[in-house]
């Protein structure tokens, strides 16, 4: 069913400490889980929830984003009347780049104004989850909230950077702090904000007029007193993928069959760009255990506790352990990797041995020969 809601995936000033993983791409297109890009999760969630119109507010390094999203056909968003819009930032004035996201919201306000849809959900690209926004909207209406923030109770040690949230007994958010704040709370914000379109436009214009330009900090956090802002709790899997340790850890969590079964299938499937790779070929010497392997790989060696993206080749005698090897990586004969992250198209020479730790994995830059 169609929801009366449009989606915004806001890539403007996404908080990240991803090192060279975001050297040539934006955070939204960092590869994840063997065949996906980070943005696939929130985008598929929106589509599966019945959101038929999604805008991606692009900011920097978005060539990979355009290539990945194309016309949105892979997410069934290639539509006549609505669909997927990648909105690049206004380019004429370079000084605008430094400004906060509200400024770009204002530049893109036509996108909101022209649509008859009543609600907007604004999300980020780096929250890896599978979520039904129809449920969030139902809760938003039932609880009569001004703004609903999707949150997760997450007492674990956190490797990603997430805002912390404090709620009262009714689930109303009474305090919210950036990731570096001292607020002691087990609840983190998933950076998904659902509100009426009219309220959003009002917040954008009022806040900018007050000389402030940051959506969450200036329009939401500073108005927790006046607005009725509620937390809607997400029970399922969450990965906050904006640091290298978080990237490593949340990829490895996919090796838990429960996580695999939930994240990729429930409530709906995760879509990504179709690549037309053949099935993966296990040759006679292959020894693969406890691993996720995408299509198009050719494996003659050993793979343990690892994630292989599309088209990876593991040659004879090579061993890949606790590692993430992105698209078209090649591990030469008798090479050995342990706790490594290889960006796309990295070639490991025969006999080469590389080793990092789970906390500080060895990270190889795209298209390197090592």
């Amino acid at each position: 069913m169609k929801l009366p809601m449009m989606g915004v995936i806001n890539l403007i000033h996404e908080t990240e400490q991803m090192g060279t993983l975001t050297a040539g791409r934006c955070l939204a297109t960092v590869p994840f889980g063997g065949r996906y890009r980070l943005i696939d999760f929130v985008l598929s969630s929106m589509v599966n929830s019945g959101i038929a119109k999604v805008a991606v507010f692009a900011h920097t390094k978005f060539r990979s984003l355009m290539d990945h999203l194309g016309s949105g056909g892979n997410w069934d968003l290639h539509r006549k009347q609505s669909g997927l819009f990648v909105l690049p930032p206004a380019m004429e004035d370079m000084t605008e780049f430094g400004k906060g996201d509200l400024y770009q919201f204002y530049r893109h306000r036509d996108y909101f104004v022209r649509s008859p849809l009543e609600y907007v959900v604004i999300a980020r690209s780096h929250m890896v989850c599978n979520l039904d926004f129809a449920r969030v909207l139902a809760e938003h209406r039932d609880r009569n909230l001004d703004v609903t923030v999707v949150c997760k109770s997450w007492p674990l040690a956190r490797t990603g950077l997430a805002r912390k949230v404090k709620t009262d007994a009714d689930g109303r958010i009474v305090e919210m702090q950036d990731h570096f704040g001292r607020l002691a709370s087990d609840v983190v914000s998933m950076e998904m904000y659902l509100l009426r379109k009219e309220l959003l436009i009002d917040l954008v214009e009022t806040t900018l007029a007050q000389g402030k330009d940051h959506f969450v900090r200036d329009a939401i956090m500073s108005r927790l007193g006046e607005l009725n802002v509620g937390a809607c709790m997400h029970d399922g899997f969450l990965g906050v993928v904006n640091t290298i340790p978080a990237f490593y850890r949340h990829n490895m969590e996919l090796l838990d069959p429960d996580v695999w079964n939930e994240l990729f299938f429930r409530p709906g499937p995760i879509y990504t760009k179709v690549k037309d790779e053949p099935p993966t070929r296990y040759r006679s010497g292959s020894a693969v255990v406890n691993s996720l392997v995408a299509n198009g790989c050719e494996i003659e060696g050993t793979v343990e506790g690892s994630i292989l993206f599309r088209g990876v080749k593991v040659r004879k005698g090579a061993a890949v352990r606790g590692s993430i090897v992105m698209q078209n990586g090649v591990i030469g004969e008798n090479g050995a990797l342990e706790n490594c992250i290889l960006d796309k198209e990295v070639e490991i020479r025969p006999q080469q041995q590389l080793r990092g730790t789970a906390d500080v994995p060895y990270l190889a830059v795209k298209r390197n020969v090592i």
Partner: protein
């Protein structure tokens, strides 16, 4: 502007009766192959990879699954504003409609479709074969021979030649003799069922063939022999490479096994000439601790907890703990329970092999088959009594 110099007509009406329970609700071109594909993917991809962007697909037997699979042609890049893929079922006129009488009649009934594109050449192919071929090279040969028709040929073992249309050719490749399924073959050059025609020649031949009430309206039996008798310029085009008719359980199984050779003669990994198919949108395959996988082709969405050797697993297949799958083909969504054995078998789409069951055997002559959607119930009590 942008004329369709060459368009393809793909005969996809095959019933595939000899594939038995695997084609219950399925036309033969829709049969699964190679861990990811359906048979028709190969010819459709060949067309696209050869620059042919207008393809008429002639269906008739059990077209529902095939139609749904073909959709609007987007997986093959054939969802074009002009041209593209068109599904052409037999047409029902006011007085009723019948199945195509033969391959030539099928094309005859669609002369109107072909004329819409005003092509110079028409390629006739069938959706029943597994091969990768550049039809553009066939067309170049056809042009440089100034041929009326060019037939792709492949040498077959002499013992099998009588199953095919075979031809004798002169030193320039011109066909001097053609015999459809001869008892005493005088050549082992078999027709692959791939014909390049100059359209005016084909059009005229089809009209004459249709007017002939004695004709079975078949290319191999009627149209080609008649053209040859009349002295038309018929040439052969020799194809080098893998080509297989997967019309029986044995040949389907064999063709799948052929892919598992370390240097398979059918290269699925060649990125210049990919085989396209509908993406089922599944996550990366998961190989569990304690599993082992060797000499196999495995697709996305599979979960392997047992042992898989020399087998082909389509998307969404599950192999439970302690099970062994060897020399087998597991169609999409097939499930093998725990401690089961699947040996020299084809397990159909969505079929279930229960815990502890055995399907097939190493010493069996025949390939065991579990029909699509069938269930082989749990056999644990039996196995506990008499473990194999």
């Amino acid at each position: 502007m942008r004329r369709n110099e060459c368009i393809a007509m793909l005969l996809a009406g095959g019933e595939g009766r000899r594939l038995g329970v695997l084609t219950k609700d399925l036309a033969k071109p829709a049969v699964h192959f190679g861990g990811k594909y359906r048979i028709i993917d190969f010819t459709l991809s060949n067309c696209v990879n050869s620059g042919i962007e207008t393809v008429g697909v002639l269906t008739q037997y059990q077209p529902l699954v095939l139609n749904q699979y073909l959709g609007i042609g987007s997986p093959w890049g054939l969802d074009r504003r002009e041209g593209g893929m068109h599904v052409l079922p037999p047409y029902v006129r006011q007085k009723g409609g019948v199945w195509y009488k033969g391959t030539a009649n099928a094309i005859y009934q669609n002369i109107g479709f072909i004329e819409r594109y005003d092509p110079e050449y028409v390629l006739i192919i069938s959706g029943d074969h597994i091969y990768k071929m550049d039809y553009d090279m066939l067309l170049s040969a056809h042009k440089s021979n100034r041929a009326d028709a060019t037939i792709a040929v492949i040498p077959v073992p002499w013992a099998e030649a009588s199953r095919f249309g075979v031809m004798s050719v002169d030193e320039e490749g011109r066909i001097v003799e053609f015999a459809e399924k001869p008892k005493q073959p005088t050549s082992n050059l078999a027709s692959m069922g791939v014909y390049m025609f100059s359209w005016p020649v084909l059009r005229e031949a089809l009209i004459q063939d249709e007017a002939d009430s004695q004709s079975a309206n078949d290319f191999g039996k009627n149209v080609i022999p008649k053209l040859l008798r009349e002295g038309a310029r018929l040439y052969s085009y020799r194809f080098e490479g893998y080509w297989k008719d997967v019309g029986t359980i044995d040949s389907l199984w064999e063709a799948n096994m052929d892919l598992l050779e370390d240097e398979a003669s059918l290269n699925l990994n060649d990125r210049e000439r990919r085989i396209y198919s509908v993406s089922p949108n599944r996550p990366a395959q998961y190989v569990a601790p304690g599993a082992s996988v060797r000499s196999s082709l495995i697709n996305e969405g599979c979960v392997v907890e047992g042992n898989v050797n020399r087998s082909v697993l389509f998307y969404g297949v599950k192999v439970g703990k302690g099970s062994l799958v060897e020399d087998s083909v597991l169609m999409p969504g097939a499930v093998v329970g725990k401690d089961a054995r699947v040996i020299r078998a084809i397990v159909g789409e969505g079929a279930v092999v229960g815990d502890g069951c055995q399907v097939g055997a190493f010493d069996s002559e025949e390939i065991a088959v579990v029909g699509s959607g069938d269930t082989v119930p749990d056999a644990r009590p039996l196995l506990e009594a008499k473990p194999i």
